[in-house]
Amino acid sequence: MKRFLGFVKKEFLHIFRDFRTLIIIFLIPAAEILLFGFIVTTDLRNANIGILDLSHDEITRQLSDKICSSGFFIKSEDLLNYSEIDRELRKNKIKAVVIFENGFGRKLISEGKAVMNIIADGSEPNMASLVTNYITAITADFNSGLIQKPGSGNILVRSEVRMFYNPSLKGHFMFVPGVITIIMTLVCALMTSITITREKEYGTMEVLLVSPLKPVQIIVGKVIPYFILSIADAILILILSWFVFGLPVKGSIILLLAELMLYILMSLSVGIMISTVSKTMQQAIFITLVGLLLPTILLSGFIFPLENMPLGYEWFSMLFPPRYFITVIKNIMIKGTGLLYVWKETLILIFFTAVSIWFSIRNFRIRLN
């Protein structure tokens, strides 16, 4: 036991000696939270659009005012003819052009319908679909206002949409769980896989092996400091996102922390598994980044919804644990559900942990070669 504690102490010394890594561990989450929160936002605000009004009547003016006063759009250009559309879009100043056909207001009153075109810049697909959705929604709202005016016929069904759990569809509800997952993967898996391969690369493993330390002691001794560090990191992210974005934890904090610890343990054991198969630090970093971090970002549903993927990819994503963890913490944090709703994912995570621990111990070499 004293041996083991001596080993853990040495690991802590390594970590605190390497001040830069320590700063990275705690700065990356802060930076990423703020980055995702303020810059990489998927919410639309003050997008520039152009308006080509060929009708110039009361109604087109009302509608374009409504669009531009919504806070989502700013009218930056008044276009005069069709040929200007392409030119203005190419200048990259505006995201879309709204076109009202000739005699828009007259047609709407006499025939009950008129055509409005939205031309969006498809080179930014996400932005384009956001812009068109927002404009369509504003127009629909405008429509229903028109219809409800006395004497203009009547409409019977009005859909009222309400978003549960995240009423204003705030982006950070989505990315905070994602960032926690990425950071945990990065800190736990990457750091541990580096720390063991570093011993191999510097030749100190040779001396450690020729000592009475058992493989289990070496592995667990490596894990403990990073386990503590990662939990501190996770709590930091939660506190940060609560203060900066007011993101609540609706479910049980205890359950959330327990799941966090499970995921941390899993990432640590995956990190160790990687270190048992790689010979150099570079190799370990490469395997972790390509094998773990990329799937975490791409295949976890963090950025790209899993449901939209081709079936093959969706199946493929099941091989990577982050997606289960994201589901779990989203459920706990945002929906406030209990273990009853996430037990399946929890079991899968336990399974991944067990497999990688088993693999690491089996693969840990008590000798060189």
């Binding site: 510097y202 030749g203 040779e206 001396v207 020729v210 000798r367």
Partner: protein, 303 residues
């Protein structure tokens, strides 16, 4: 006397490369047993096998009376191993390194301090310094202290003096000699032939085979011819001229001179003329005592 190491017919290959061929030797208690040979001779592989880090393909190895493969756990408690490359934690201080190895081996620095006192006293003034910032000689002293801190019965030192300055090398060997008092058996490898004389037994090793095992004095005496040393200002030219001379068997550079042997085993006086004709003036030829290196080269040639 108890045998500390008994090795018989150890063979080891890495792929197609035969690293060790039929290595057999015994090491007695309190020996300083030296493995002398050039880089790539197989010394490190052999030491790793003895340190339980590698399993030989063939052969039997008993260390401290234990089987090196099946009893590796017990064995690892009783050996001190210092790899060829500096293998301490560079980001930990001198003191932290020593304390770490002491705890790992279930002891404390104070418990065995007398054993390392002399060595450690050289580096103790720098105990707060990071190990990575020490000079080569100090690194070796720290590594030796760390390998000794648990008072091992067998100390395995893989090229401890490579890359260390001449003064530190002498100091280092002096320390090893003093460890005999504590009944610690030492096996040590080195590419420096002159260090062989500091061991009480040496094995000359080349291409994975042991050429000879004996007392270093006896190894020297095994040299079969009379040896002469030639000195002249232009050594490189001198060697080529000497090698062209028909009466000479071997001519090898040795320090600032060239060691030569004659077919007749006698100083061939016409050599002076030959040297003069080839443009080498003021050559001095004297009979000299063979060293380990001369014997090593002779054995290599006979292989």
């Amino acid at each position: 006397m108890q045998k500390i190491i008994e090795a018989s017919d150890i063979n080891m290959s890495f792929g197609d490369v035969k690293a060790l061929r039929n290595i057999s030797f015994d090491v007695n208690e309190s020996d300083i047993f030296g493995f002398i040979g050039p880089d790539g001779a197989g010394k490190t592989t052999l030491f790793r096998i003895i340190a339980t880090l590698l399993i030989p393909d063939e052969g039997e190895l008993k260390v401290l009376g234990l089987d090196s493969v099946s009893d590796y756990k017990e064995l690892r408690k009783n050996i001190g191993y210092m790899p060829g490359r500096f293998s301490l934690y560079q980001d930990l201080s001198v003191e932290e390194n020593l304390n770490f190895y002491a705890t790992v081996f279930g002891t404390t620095v104070s418990e065995n301090y007398d054993l390392i006192a002399e060595i450690y006293s050289h580096i103790e003034p720098f105990k707060k310094r990071l190990a990575g910032k020490l000079s080569g000689g100090m690194k070796q002293k720290l590594a030796l202290s760390c390998a000794l801190i648990h008072k091992p019965k067998l100390l395995i030192l893989d090229e401890p003096t490579t890359g260390v300055d001449a003064v530190s090398r002498v100091e280092f060997w002096e320390m090893l000699r003093k460890l005999k008092e504590y009944n610690i058996t030492i096996i040590v490898s080195t590419p420096y032939m002159d260090e062989a004389m500091r061991c009480n037994r040496v094995a000359l090793i080349q291409n994975g085979s042991i050429l000879s095992i004996d007392d270093p004095q006896k190894i020297k005496e095994g040299f079969s011819r009379k040896l002469f040393s030639v000195r002249a200002p232009e050594k490189f030219k001198l060697i080529n001229v000497l090698r062209d001379y028909p009466g000479i068997v071997t001519a090898y550079p040795f320090g600032d001179s060239v060691h030569i042997t004659f077919h007749t085993d006698k100083l061939d006086m016409t050599l002076y003329d030959h040297l003069k004709k080839s443009g080498i003036e003021n050559a001095v030829i004297t009979e000299t005592d063979p060293g380990i290196e001369d014997r090593f080269l002779e054995l290599m040639l006979n292989e």
